[in-house]
């Protein structure tokens, strides 16, 4: 029990409980591509900076081929007090990776007695994505988007990843997942420097609406089931989830505005 070890939880697992690591799964010789049709896929995540912080939002849909696998799935989670994580790609692996990443950060904080730096966190996430590469090549890719408030630089920052664990800092706004192209188009027109938080939330909801409009795998606001995107904001005070009540109102305003305009797009 007393054997000294580092402060990384995932390294501790790989040494003593390798079976618990999400990346320890092996598919054997499944043909490439077949796995992705059999496992639910999480879709669009958007992230944007605003004055004093950063925001991340995700729709609520997971798909499996042409089927809707889930209408309720949450794909954006707090990683710790000052950072948030959203994942597109294979939902099962992605949710496991989020859970592992959350424990990784908390574990470091408890062992070291101080929180990890934002760059440190983004690098740990890159290492986890890299470990998933063999599965990604068999069609089970996991593409995270990471955002947080940098308590040293006093600003919100975002990081995107590729399947090989490449980590890229993004500026202004970014999106990942099947509807990301359409969301990015909307963000390009809607985002401007010095947004306040309320405007930023409204823009995130609108860009997801545009993504859902053109991408069948992205879910729009669901008035029947009362389902709205999941939105988190991070600023110097820490992380906060935008309550459903506010999102409901924003989604209704958006739909009303577009209905009155009565245009094709």
């Amino acid at each position: 029990m007393a054997a000294a070890a580092g402060s990384s939880f995932s390294e501790h697992l790989s040494r003593h409980h390798p079976e618990l690591l999400p990346s320890a799964r092996r598919l054997g010789t499944a043909p490439a591509g077949s796995a992705s049709a059999a496992a639910p896929q999480a879709t669009t995540i958007v992230s944007l900076t605003y004055a004093g912080g950063v925001l991340m939002a995700g729709d609520r849909r997971a798909t499996m081929g042409n089927m809707i696998a889930s209408r309720h799935i949450r794909k954006v989670f707090p990683a710790d007090t000052y950072s948030v994580l959203g994942i597109a790609g294979t939902a099962g692996l992605a949710l496991d990776m989020i859970r592992l990443f959350q424990v990784e950060l908390e574990h470091y904080e408890k062992i070291e007695g101080t929180p990890m730096s934002l760059d440190g966190k983004s690098n740990r996430l890159a290492a986890m994505v890299r470990q998933n590469l063999p599965l990604a090549l068999q069609g089970l890719a996991v593409i995270p988007l990471f955002a947080g408030y940098d308590t040293e630089r006093h600003t919100g920052r975002m990081f995107s990843y590729d399947v090989t664990g490449g980590r890229y800092e993004e500026y202004e706004h970014h999106s990942v997942g099947s509807g990301s192209v359409f969301a990015r188009g909307a963000l390009k027109k809607l985002w401007r420097p010095g947004l306040d938080q309320d405007e930023a939330v409204r823009i995130a909801v609108e860009s997801l609406y545009d993504a859902a409009d053109d991408d069948s795998a992205t879910g729009g606001p669901d008035m029947v089931r009362q389902l709205w995107p999941v939105v988190y904001v991070v600023n110097s005070a820490g992380i906060r989830e935008i309550p459903e009540r506010e999102l409901h109102q924003l989604a209704e305003e958006l739909v009303t505005r577009r209905s009155i305009a009565g245009r094709e797009a």
């Binding site: 029990m1 007393a2 070890a5 501790h12 003593h16 618990l20 908390e106 574990h107 408890k110």
Partner: protein, 252 residues
């Protein structure tokens, strides 16, 4: 050729126990006490970075006295145990009882099998939703485990602190009052050498109390989700907050 002397198991265990007890008695004391708002940890510790108190999991805290390197490795092992368990089962499945029994086994095997026993004494505390569901466990160097109620005192001069707490502890105090009670109890040890132990005279408040700079204080909130929006109950009380808290007591 060296002569092998026979040492009876009783003597061997007694020697090891004496050795461990001496090491622990050299250290300053730590108090863990339950109150209305949760569980408070108060340690006499001049270092702001070498902690005697630590967070293990959502509702579980840790306090130790003795050799730093030994209890620090036990603390880290406890964090690892709790995180692995919470990750592979669920967060609710991590309990102080489970952790305490792992500690007991670990301390017990070191006491009997290793070259020297750990010179440490530990307390593991779990805060409940209600005061009656709080758990306090005391673990000693030989792996004995005791389920305590109300409060635990560890370290050198624990009797003096215990005497003071026996008179002043009460179950429905807020954190501020519980911490003041603990600080007064710990301060009683400072006066004892000069003014000869007189257990029934209350140390005059404000005269010889330990200052915030010599204390390490942490709490486990009973309901962290509604007060701070997190499931992690453990919170350190910084020097500034502690200073304010202690000086408000003197003003009373």
């Amino acid at each position: 050729m060296t002569q092998q002397f026979y040492v009876s198991p009783e003597q061997l265990m007694k020697d090891r126990a004496d050795f461990a007890r001496k090491g622990i008695a050299r250290g300053r004391s730590v108090v863990v006490l339950t109150c209305r708002d949760g569980i408070a940890f108060v340690a006499e510790n001049p270092s702001p970075s070498l902690h005697k108190l630590g967070e293990i999991y959502d509702r579980i805290g840790f306090a130790a006295v003795g050799k730093y390197n030994e209890f620090e490795s036990l603390r880290q092992a406890g964090v690892r145990y709790a995180d692995v368990r919470g990750y592979s089962y669920a967060r609710e499945d991590v309990s102080a009882r489970g952790l305490a029994s792992v500690y007991a086994q670990s301390l017990g095997s070191v006491f009997t099998a290793e070259g020297k026993p750990f010179e440490v004494e530990l307390a593991v505390a779990e805060v409940g939703r209600e005061p009656y569901s709080d758990h306090l466990y005391r673990l000693t160097y030989d792996g004995s485990i005791a389920d305590e109620s109300n409060y635990v005192v560890m370290g050198g001069q624990a009797e003096i602190v215990n005497d003071s707490l026996a008179r002043t502890w009460s179950p429905d105090t807020p954190f501020s009052e519980a911490i003041q009670i603990a600080v007064r109890a710990l301060s009683a040890t400072r006066q004892a050498p000069e003014s000869a132990p007189a257990p029934d005279t209350e140390p005059a408040p404000g005269t010889e109390l330990l200052g915030a700079g010599l204390l390490e204080v942490a709490v486990l909130d009973r309901d962290p989700l509604s007060t701070r929006g997190t499931v992690r109950a453990f919170r350190r009380i910084g020097t500034v907050e502690l200073d304010r808290l202690l000086s408000s007591a003197e003003g009373d």
